[in-house]
């Protein structure tokens, strides 16, 4: 298909903007809280499209935001990561029982990290892992990386915290008076 543009993913730019000093993130907010995070490498973005370099960018962003010591990788990871079961249309296919069975491996992988949160890079991953967290009783919150970037920058409003757990609902709130 004829096109005059390049296709890129925003993780690469998050990393670039942090390196260039345009996004002045830091992990001070988590210095004492010590909340642990793991991250899902989306198949579509990592294994299928951009490969390990973008997985490194993603880790650089996450570590910059939550603190290196508060990041724990799943095993296996990067291009070798397991799919969570949210892709390929599975979420809309009607085979819910099989989808949850598929995701059991992912849930176990997340639990084995001991992390409090799972960062999900894509929407299908987010929806699926969120459901796995509830279904298998892990109850770990599943968050977007943009939420954590803004939390770290102190610009995350009270109504932009849908997916944060109770431990972070009140942390670094921007304009708390606007809570709905």
């Amino acid at each position: 298909m004829e096109h005059n543009f390049e296709v890129k993913n925003i993780y690469e730019y998050y990393a670039k903007w942090i390196r260039e000093g345009k996004l002045k993130v830091n992990s001070d907010w988590n210095k004492d809280l010590k909340i642990k995070f793991t991250v899902q490498d989306p198949c579509q973005i990592v294994r299928k499209t951009f490969g390990d370099p973008i997985a490194e960018d993603l880790r650089f962003v996450v570590k910059s935001v939550v603190g290196e010591e508060n990041f724990i990788d799943m095993q296996p990871n990067r291009s070798n990561n397991y799919c969570c079961g949210g892709g390929g249309g599975f979420l809309q296919s009607g085979f819910k029982e099989q989808r949850l069975q598929y995701g059991k491996l992912k849930d176990q992988q997340i639990k084995a990290t001991g992390a409090d949160y799972c960062i999900a890079g894509c929407h299908n991953c987010h929806a699926q892992i969120h459901e796995l967290s509830e279904h298998y009783g892990g109850n770990y919150p599943v968050v977007h990386i943009w939420t954590l970037i803004c939390l770290s920058l102190g610009i995350l409003g009270p109504n932009e915290r849908e997916y944060l757990g109770d431990d972070l609902k009140e942390v670094n709130v921007f304009h708390p008076e606007t809570a709905e």
């Binding site: 543009f5 925003i10 903007w17 345009k22 198949c43 973005i45 397991y82 598929y102 610009i155």
Partner: protein, 243 residues
């Protein structure tokens, strides 16, 4: 001992696996399987519907096309490509799965995926949730106006739609504008702080493409073309996936 060479009867039947080989570079290596099982041992879909990737490939190789058409397993494989990644012969099983999805008549494919594809075909948004370009523009402007007022530090933040010559053409999963518009804000704030020159398209803004998952090639192409045309028309240099 027979006097004559025994001839096998009939014209050679055309099998599903041959059709897939035709459309793949090097036939997708579909006849190079060593049956080592690395694919199946690391596949989360192994065991679902009494199937696994190695077995699926063997069934295709044996010409068990009827069984493949009947199997629901192609809808339980996400085509994540981990099997290719770990395969010593780099066999493209996901392409086999994708094409197996297309063996069924369109109206017999899973209703949810079918419905999401049809929604996206309804208008130029290409959204699986069916929201129109006008509604999308309204939501974006509404959310923007509210945050400009309630968070004055962002009074000059923008969320452009159809801005010509913008560097980045952004797509957006429909879930935010339709069900949780406040979740749009963190992304916009980041783009604002770094001074990014970006835009959404009123046409083709939606990031998802369920027609692809449906294995409906014509509709998949139509959706993608709508998006690509919009980005081309606006003269954007970079198509930026936000997920």
């Amino acid at each position: 001992m027979a006097e004559e060479v025994i001839k096998l009867g009939g014209k050679k039947k055309s099998y599903f696996i041959d059709k897939v080989k035709e459309i793949l570079p090097d036939g997708g290596n579909l006849n190079l399987c060593l049956t080592c099982g690395a694919c199946s041992s690391g596949c989360p879909a192994t065991g679902l519907d009494n199937m696994d990737p190695r077995k699926f490939l063997r069934m295709a190789a044996l010409g068990m096309d009827e069984e493949i058409i009947k199997s629901d397993w192609p809808w339980m494989c996400t085509m994540c490509q981990r099997c290719i990644y770990v395969c010593p012969m780099k066999i493209d099983i996901p392409q086999l799965v994708y094409n197996a999805r297309g063996l069924r008549p369109r109206d017999q494919r899973p209703k949810g995926i079918l419905g999401s594809c049809d929604m996206a075909l309804r208008n130029e948004s290409t959204s699986a949730m069916g929201i129109s370009p006008d509604d999308f523009v309204f939501v974006v402007q509404d959310v923007l106006e509210e945050v400009r007022e309630s968070q004055p530090e962002f009074a000059d933040m923008e969320a452009p739609i159809d801005k010509e010559g913008a560097e980045f053409f952004l797509n957006q999963n429909s879930r935010e504008p339709v069900t949780e518009p406040n979740e749009l804000l963190p992304l916009w704030k980041i783009l604002h702080l770094v001074g990014a020159d970006w835009t959404y398209g009123s046409h083709g803004w939606a990031g998802e493409n369920y027609c692809m998952f449906l294995a409906d090639n014509d509709s998949w192409e139509k959706i993608t073309r709508t998006t690509v045309n919009q980005a081309n028309k606006l003269g954007c240099k970079i198509f930026l996936n936000t997920e």
